[in-house]
Symmetry: C2
Subunit: 115 residues, 2 copies
DNA sequence: GAGGCATATGCCATGCAAGGAATACACGCC
DNA sequence: GGCGTGTATTCCTTGCATGGCATATGCCTC
């Protein structure tokens, strides 16, 4: 949310970091970015066993970046990007730094153009 | 740099992710955000042994997020935020999503106000 | 060039996260 | 109520990253 990207919230929960560590979990996030999917779909898309996939989904659930909805025997997972805003907030101060660098580069280019 | 935050580069290198996993490494980044520091300074600031600190610095160096400069026996580390732009690029599609949510929320609030 | 300081590296032990296999659980259908 | 499908959980093993300790390396001073 807005207050998160303003940097007021400060600390990124460990759960969020641990989500990002794993490539498979990042892959799941990207798949869910497209549309909600049942577990079986994810299993097919990733090259992973069903139990392994379920375990990753558990981590994602605990971190709050996905939500489950039950549809008969299937469980459909949906992306909830909100917690990632914390990550964005964490990144903000660094973003300022590399933007400063870009500004410097920009001025340099302008100056050389004038020469 | 610019091309990174434009999202052209796509994949965040594994090295960047592995940097972020560790709380101590994130702490080092934050310390260096303030100003460049020698290893000894970092050892004091973190609650870590000197060897452990050096190992983390190695990881950070390999990922390209810090640079070293030698000053007699001391090595002064400086933050280089550029590679973090890749992370920013990775985050971009998700940012769009939570912004969309905020817009929805905004409209909802506007509507209820009108009622 | 010997000794002392600052940092890096090697080796070892420990802990922990990830994946596989088997199994438990939940739901719908006949 | 038994059965098949879809998903979660448990147990176990393995690999890997972390940190401490000891030690190597580099540099400066006397």
């Amino acid at each position: 949310m807005a207050y998160a990207s303003c940097g007021i919230l400060g600390r990124v929960p460990d759960a969020i970091w641990s989500v990002l560590i794993d490539p498979n979990r990042r892959a799941i996030l990207e798949l869910l970015r497209e549309r909600p999917r049942a577990v079986g779909e994810l299993v097919d898309a990733l090259d992973l066993s069903q139990p392994a996939t379920s375990k990753h989904l558990r981590v994602l659930r605990d971190a709050g970046v996905v939500r489950v909805e039950q549809d008969a025997q299937r469980r459909v997972y949906t992306l909830d990007p909100a917690p990632l805003a914390e990550l964005d907030a964490w990144l903000a101060p660094y973003r300022r730094l590399w933007n400063a660098r870009l500004d410097t580069l920009g001025r340099y280019l302008d100056d050389t153009k004038e020469t």
